[in-house]
Amino acid sequence: MSVMTEVSTAFVCPSHSEHTVSEQSGPGILVLSRSLQLQYVNRRALELIRNIGQAITESGVIILPIPLLELRDQIQESLDARIEANIWESFEMSRVVSERGHRLLLRGFGHPNEVANCDSRIIILFEEIGSTVKDKNQQIRARMTGPELQTMDARLLANS
């Protein structure tokens, strides 16, 4: 297929099924800078946050629930300590939040940047667990492909 055809296909006739799949079944994602500036959030993250508490005020400001703030602060603290100690491996901290009948797995990643410390990032993934057969199948079939990740802490937090 030529580049021209590819461009036409990509921009003019996008695959409806891909569009639908991408929006509905992807994980929720939140990206913060080391100084906790919000850099990216997707719709799915807001939807999942809304399930366990308030996500957005009427004026459009995002309100993060307390378990998420705690995880964020833990990661930031660990990120700062690691940068101070010249440890540059990425690490993961996770927790499960149960609220209003929904169970969310929050997976937080500290991503230190050796070249520019201020560009270090905190990435938090949201996944609803145990709610549908499809979710269960996904959990069983998932495979870890990041052996370089260091899992620092995995604890459960039941809020309800």
Partner: protein
């Protein structure tokens, strides 16, 4: 559940905006999601389809119908080798270049670095 992968760190090239490692031509359609945020306020969500033109361990070159701002973090979805699995990537826009391209009007070449990748079953 999804599996995740932080891309390997690449030694910085002379020009920090350009990838110094070998690029492999690979044209692939992908789906992107952008979020304009100001502080903790969402200004705008947008999404669409883009083409990945080439790839390297540190990032890839995209052809997009709208330009992200320099340094903007956004999300890309692309199919992996197996039909049931797709990659969700977080990338950072390093540079953009406007092009006039046929009937599609203005399109944008966008050089991005990979921040994070996870594989997700469809």
């Amino acid at each position: 559940m999804t599996s995740s992968k932080i891309p390997p760190k690449i030694e910085g090239p002379v020009n920090p905006d350009r990838r110094g490692d070998t690029r492999v031509p690979k044209i692939q359609q992908c789906f992107y999601q952008l979020a304009q945020v100001a502080g903790y306020e969402i200004v705008k969500f947008s999404n669409g389809h883009a083409l990945s033109l080439n790839t390297s361990p540190g990032g890839f070159l995209l052809l997009m119908p709208q330009p992200p701002t320099r340094g903007q973090v956004f999300e890309m979805h692309a199919s992996l080798s197996t039909e049931e699995e797709r990659a969700v990537k977080l990338v950072e826009a390093c540079w953009t270049r406007e092009l006039t391209f046929g009937d599609a009007g203005k399109v944008y070449l966008v050089g991005v670095t990979s921040l994070f990748q996870l594989a997700s079953l469809i």
